[in-house]
């Protein structure tokens, strides 16, 4: 069937023997598909129609990633609030915990066994496989080089539920010639006895997200942070397209390489064929306390011990070079907001005049909002920083980019904690709508059914009823936030930094819904959108703009700026409910070009 005779665009390619049979096999595969499959396109037409309608309604009804970052500032309406990052949704506020988390071994973790020949799915473009001789792990990207540039350190999130730890290391990279680029994070690849035992995490899973600056490095020019996985990606407990990795590397000595996958920029969209750049190995030791780089000639004796968790502790960074192995860790114990914060720092060095500078950094953006310096004479310093000036999320503590820890330092730690009373830590409790003094009925909308649903959503938000909101969203198939989130994530309590409870309450009790016409076929329900100013029809309505200001969704200045933006107009949060009462979407308003 597939004949290739007479082609004039084959660039010298001649099909080898056997391709006719290959064509027949492919044809048989395609022809063997059951057109009446109960899960095929024809059978699921109604479901697809619903998805199309939902997407289209979501697009026009207010969902879009562009304004997601405005959530925190919009809701609280305070000038000091900084943008919330798109990934903050997974960084939920938590409570202080003293649970040790740096152990690489979990009690319920399965036994570790490398699956020889297994290829993590994100490496399917390569010939890299688990158990391969590490000598075969070579740089294939012409002109590229990468080098480890610091000690391995742990990043632990311990918000009182299920602590998780992954590994990081500073790295310096030299890009090759040409248009190629590194479009993903660097990975830490582990080997033992000459075999690869862990390829690190899926570095393609979060494309485009900038790597944070490493917390510590030995090279002032190293600006990338290589990532090690919490569990080995060479010991899957489930394989396939959605693998599960639970087994951690056991105690022992390993070689660790920093590996990157730059592309050559050959494709029209700016991406290209992937290649590999591999560093020289460094030694890492794993024991019950975590992963460690060798101290070498640095450090010395220290009398300081890791301090007990402080009341209201938010984050801590510790560097211990008092033994033959470096122990370095960054631990998040709770997230902002906090009314005021203070840093407690200690340092001890063979030279007591040494100093270590540090910065308090918003983890999601890498932006430093406070800095300090501690003298390494062993005494404790407390630096009151006052109001943190950011709305929420995780906070890192790090040595500023371009600076290093003096070699003689044996111990350095800095702990950031709320300096207010325990009651001040989260004035609204776990829910931002708690105690909110607003009308408990929606302002109204052109559709009774939509108003009924709005009423139910408002009641649930004001009652901080996570279960009700999740049930309402799930039952309607509402698309929440962008990137899309599960209702369980959006409406989790303690609340995300996006403060959806207060936002929903403000939208429905303080703004008017309006029908968005012309977005569905005749006879199909149209979406009602809150606030109405999100619609082109109300883009120049004084009353509609005043509503979002009065509701606390925007400050007057923000409203004026967005109104003056003739391209996009309102860019705050919005909610859409179909005329038939189906909750269709909630999220940041996207790019709505105005004519």
């Amino acid at each position: 069937m597939n004949q290739h005779d007479g082609r004039d665009q084959d660039h010298g390619w001649v099909d080898p023997a056997g391709t006719d049979f290959l064509a027949q096999t492919l044809g048989a595969m395609a022809g063997g598909v059951d057109p009446a499959s109960p899960t095929g396109p024809a059978a699921v037409m109604p479901m697809m129609s619903k998805r199309v309608r939902r997407r289209r309604t979501a697009k026009v009804g207010g969902l879009g990633g562009g304004a997601l970052a405005l959530v925190g500032a919009l809701v609280l309406g305070a000038g000091q609030l900084a943008p919330a990052a798109p990934d903050q949704s997974e960084l939920l506020p938590g409570t202080s915990s003293s649970t040790p988390t740096s152990s690489p071994v979990k009690a319920d973790a399965p036994d570790f066994k490398v699956k020889d020949g297994y290829q993590p799915p994100w490496l399917d473009w390569s010939d890299l496989t688990c158990g391969m001789p590490v000598a075969d792990l070579e740089t294939t990207a012409p002109g590229w080089s990468v080098a480890p540039a610091g000690d391995i350190y742990a990043r632990t999130t311990d918000l009182g539920d299920k602590p998780s730890t992954s590994w990081r290391m500073a790295a310096a990279i030299e890009e090759g010639p040409g248009p190629g680029a590194l479009g993903s994070s660097l990975a830490l690849v582990w080997s033992q006895d000459g075999k690869v035992v862990d390829f690190g995490p899926d570095v393609f899973a979060d494309p485009g997200r900038p790597d944070p600056v490493p917390l510590i490095s030995s090279d002032p020019a190293a600006y990338l942070e290589a990532h090690g996985a919490e569990a080995s990606t060479c010991a899957p407990t489930r394989t396939g397209a959605d693998p599960v990795y639970e087994a951690r590397l056991p105690e022992g000595d390993y070689d660790v390489r920093v590996v990157g996958f730059p592309h050559d920029g050959s494709l029209p969209d700016g991406s290209g064929e992937l290649a590999t750049v591999v560093s020289e190995p460094v030694s890492v030791h794993i024991d019950a306390a975590g992963a460690h780089s060798p101290v070498g000639t640095r450090g010395g004796e220290s009398t300081i011990e890791s301090p007990e968790p402080l009341p209201g502790e938010i984050s801590r960074f510790e560097l211990d070079r008092s033994t033959e192995w470096v122990t370095a860790s960054m631990t998040h114990r709770r997230h902002l907001p906090a009314p005021a914060v203070a840093a407690t720092a200690r340092c001890e060095s063979t030279d007591p005049t040494d100093t270590v500078p540090f910065e308090v950094v918003e983890e999601s953006t890498g932006q430093a909002f406070r800095s300090g310096e501690v003298v390494c004479d062993g005494t404790e310093s407390v630096l009151p920083f006052g109001a943190p000036g950011i709305s929420g999320g995780a906070v890192d503590l790090q040595v500023p980019f371009g600076q290093t820890v003096p070699d003689g330092v044996a111990w350095f730690s800095v702990v950031l904690a709320s300096s207010g009373s325990a009651d001040d830590l989260d004035p609204a409790g776990d829910c931002s709508a708690s105690g909110l003094d607003v009308a408990d009925d929606p302002l109204g909308s052109p559709s009774d059914a939509a108003t009924d649903t709005a009423d139910a959503i408002l009641d649930a938000a004001l009652a901080c009823d996570s279960g009700d909101l999740i049930e309402l969203a799930t039952a309607s198939g509402a698309e929440l936030m962008l990137p899309l989130e599960a209702p369980e994530d959006t409406f989790a309590l303690p609340e995300t930094a996006a403060l959806p409870y207060r936002t929903l309450a403000a939208l429905l009790s303080g703004t008017t819904g309006a029908l968005l016409t012309g977005q569905t076929d005749d006879g199909e329900p149209q979406p009602v959108v809150w606030p109405r100013v999100a619609l082109e029809e109300y883009a120049d309505s004084d009353e509609a703009w005043q509503e979002v200001v009065d509701a606390g969704l925007l400050t007057a200045e923000e409203a004026a700026a967005q109104r003056a933006n003739t391209m996009y107009g309102y860019q705050g949060m919005s909610l859409s409910i179909s005329e038939d009462g189906t909750w269709s979407g909630y999220g940041g308003t996207g790019a709505f070009p105005r004519q």
């Binding site: 290739h4 396109p41 397209a241 790019a591």
Partner: protein
């Protein structure tokens, strides 16, 4: 014709062919169905500027171009492609390649192994399982090159254009693929002569 009619036409009349095409790419029927459904939903979701919606696009709401842009940068509103099925096939290919490169894209799809699930119930053609199995040893780009060349009957230039790469790269994919498949293809001629259509 509105998007609903487009969707119905493609799903009911061409759905089987589209799933068959996707199946040659991914080797798993359920995943092939998912690929096609996602491509159809994407296709129809983007037809904002068509038919009765052309007026609405002009009223100021966002129109998303069909070339993959998001429409937020002042590009022209979407227009229906002249060959919807070809367009959907291109989306299936892109979803397949994109999904495999960034595997989390398909994180909600339970892993299924193709070889055990191969079904050719009514085609009248017996395809050897070892060839089907050997196809699973190809990388996604190698496999896509093979499918476009030997199933879609494209020229090298067309394959290159469809995959957004250079003809030389396609030849390398094909060369590497045929080397991988050589063992199952070469001795097969005589052994299966009687089984072919």
């Amino acid at each position: 014709m509105g998007w609903h009619e487009d969707l119905e036409l493609l799903a009911t009349q061409r759905g089987g062919a589209l799933v068959g095409y996707a199946y040659t790419l991914c080797g798993d029927v359920r995943q092939a169905e998912d690929l096609v459904q996602e491509a159809l939903v994407k296709y129809c979701s983007r037809l904002v500027g068509r038919g009765g919606r052309r007026r609405r696009a002009a009223s100021g709401m966002r129109a998303v171009p069909l070339d993959g842009g998001d429409g937020a940068d002042g590009e022209e509103p979407a227009r229906a492609p002249q060959h919807p099925e070809a367009y959907v096939r291109r989306m299936v290919l892109n979803l397949y390649l994109d999904g495999w490169r960034r595997s989390r894209k398909w994180a909600d799809i339970a892993p299924r192994v193709a070889v055990e699930d191969v079904r050719f119930p009514d085609s009248g053609v017996t395809a050897r399982a070892d060839v089907v199995h050997a196809l699973t040893r190809l990388t996604p780009r190698q496999r896509a090159s093979v499918v476009l060349r030997y199933f879609e009957d494209m020229t090298i230039a067309q394959v290159a254009e469809a995959m957004g790469t250079a003809p030389g790269t396609v030849k390398r994919y094909l060369h590497d693929a045929m080397r991988t498949l050589r063992d199952v293809l070469e001795p097969v001629e005589a052994a299966t002569e009687g089984e072919r259509r």
